[in-house]
């Protein structure tokens, strides 16, 4: 199975396998990655599943919708590579993706 690498808020590196079609939230949540709250359960309504994709993946992952970008502007210290984990759907091309979980979700 393809996998991604997560760096949690305690700088721990965790490898997470995923099924194509899953979101980053589903994959990381199942694996119990620390620091992703996802209060709304993946509805793009709370901005508490903020992750930062490694910059080398620019262009490989489709950019955020207006709704997601608006929500992201309320995350703590968003960067140009910030995403909401619930809104990024993974496919085979994302095997090897690296991301960090935001230090704080609110």
């Amino acid at each position: 199975m393809p996998q991604l690498t997560c760096i949690d808020p305690n700088e721990q590196e965790i490898d997470v396998t995923f099924e194509p079609g899953e979101t980053i939230l589903q994959a990381t949540y199942r694996a119990g990655v620390d620091g992703i709250l996802a209060e709304c359960g993946g509805g793009c309504s709370c901005a508490t599943c903020h992750v930062i994709l490694d910059a080398t993946w620019d262009g490989t992952v489709e950019g955020p919708s207006v709704q997601e970008a608006d929500m992201l502007s309320f995350a703590i210290d968003p960067t140009p590579h910030s995403r909401l984990a619930c809104q990024v759907e993974l496919n085979d091309k994302h095997d090897g993706l690296t991301l960090s979980v935001a230090k704080r979700q609110y």
């Binding site: 589903q26 199942r30 359960g41 993946g42 309504s45």
Partner: protein
């Protein structure tokens, strides 16, 4: 300390996760009366019904929390509690605990309709409800949904198909009475359902497969009752700790009995935002009451002080509400463009809720502003948007 948690929904699961994250030094016995592992409810009426994938995608807890050594799952229905003796009684056994947490949630209100066979009557609240409804949809052309709240229209969007007619039947004089007339108009513009208001159902006629109402006969191969929820308070009522209106607690989620707490949708407590005691049905309430209780159990008590928020997917539109208002609160439109609609609900100059349709930025700005204190209607209008108001409050 041994904690017995009754219920395995959002509030129970947030409590479990928060206690584990807070290095809770004790045991949790979790009583789950359903036959599924803890799952998320909001998707049931939304994405799950259109793409009923494996229940895996609905799971509420990650493995490390669900399988944590401090958590013991007991798949039994609780039939009673004896707070003075710290006892939880199930169909099969009695369990001794130090603290009892009632996280029993709500259930769908039912409505008996004369002549309507049970296999044509549905509600949607649990995963089993959703599975039953989904398996009954084959060949169904006419669906009648009784009730005209968020759930009814979420279902209408999810169940919509070219060969199907979906009718939403409201008892009251308008659909979506929880939101302003303006926001409701926006949301209903996009609904695939046809709406009838002021409907009284008399009976169901099996021969013509129709509901007989004060508006005549309405075809219905299947009827979904979506008229709201009722708190599961029986366990508390039996020992004098609650009524059918909810289980009263203080701002630390404690009932008058020192060993019993109540969290989530059953808990009736002081809502600082509303300046009154009330029971609130939302994910934010489940999370915030659970977090408040976790802090107390971890020895760092802080009173409940959250502002409720809500969201609902209505087809392509996303409604997000910050705050909570009475149905009679006034409404003033703040933003109304082709894509966005933001309505402020208020009592005089004090804003009680902000309803945002496809306007996530305004919703989030309103949540942040509510955290800082009351929002003035006049200032919001002057600023032109809540986002601008938030920015000016920070500069």
């Amino acid at each position: 300390m041994k904690i017995g948690i009754i219920g395995a929904g959002q509030a129970a699961c947030t409590l479990i996760a928060e206690l584990i994250r807070g290095q809770f030094d004790g045991e949790m016995l979790v009583f789950n009366g359903e036959s599924h592992r803890p799952y998320q409810r909001p998707p049931l009426s939304k994405t799950w019904l259109t793409h009923p994938t494996e229940t895996e995608s609905l799971r509420l807890l990650p493995d490390p929390i669900e399988n944590h050594p401090s958590v013991q799952w007991i798949q039994q229905r609780v039939t009673g509690i004896e707070p003075d003796d710290g006892l939880i009684v199930t169909e099969r056994d009695r369990y001794s605990v130090d603290q009892i947490v009632l996280a029993t949630g709500t259930r769908a209100k039912k409505l008996a309709i004369d002549g309507l066979p049970s296999e044509k009557t549905h509600v949607i609240r649990t995963l089993d409800d959703a599975i039953t409804l989904h398996s009954a949809l084959d060949g169904v052309q006419n669906i009648a949904i009784l009730g005209a709240g968020f759930l009814a229209f979420e279902l209408a969007s999810s169940l919509d198909q070219p060969t199907r007619t979906i009718r939403v039947l409201a008892k009251g004089i308008r659909a979506l009475p929880q939101v302003s007339v303006k926001a409701a108009d926006r949301l209903l513009d996009a609904t695939p359902a046809s709406i009838r208001v002021d409907v009284t159902v008399e009976r169901y006629d099996e021969d013509s497969a129709a509901l007989i109402t004060n508006h005549g006969s309405i075809p219905a191969d299947l009827v979904i009752i979506a008229i709201g929820a009722q708190a599961n308070t029986e366990l508390a009522e039996a020992c004098g700790l609650g009524t059918d209106k909810g289980i009263p607690t203080d701002s630390y989620m404690q009932t008058p009995h020192p060993c019993v707490s109540a969290i989530g949708e059953v808990s009736l407590h002081d809502q600082p935002h509303m300046k009154q005691k009330m029971r609130v049905e939302s994910i934010s309430e489940a999370n915030d009451t659970a977090t408040t209780l976790a802090k107390r159990l971890l020895g760092q008590p802080e009173p409940f002080n959250a502002t409720p928020w809500f969201w609902s997917d209505q087809g392509e539109l996303k409604l997000q509400i910050a705050g909570l208002c009475a149905r009679t609160d006034e409404e003033t439109v703040l933003i109304n463009t082709e894509t966005e609609c933001v309505v402020m609900r208020h009592q005089g100059d004090r804003i009680t809720a902000v309803e945002a349709v496809n306007a996530a930025k305004e919703f989030m700005a309103a949540r942040r502003l509510f955290e800082q204190g009351p929002i003035s209607l006049g200032s919001a209008i002057e600023a032109g948007s809540l986002f601008s108001l938030l920015q000016s409050s920070r500069s």
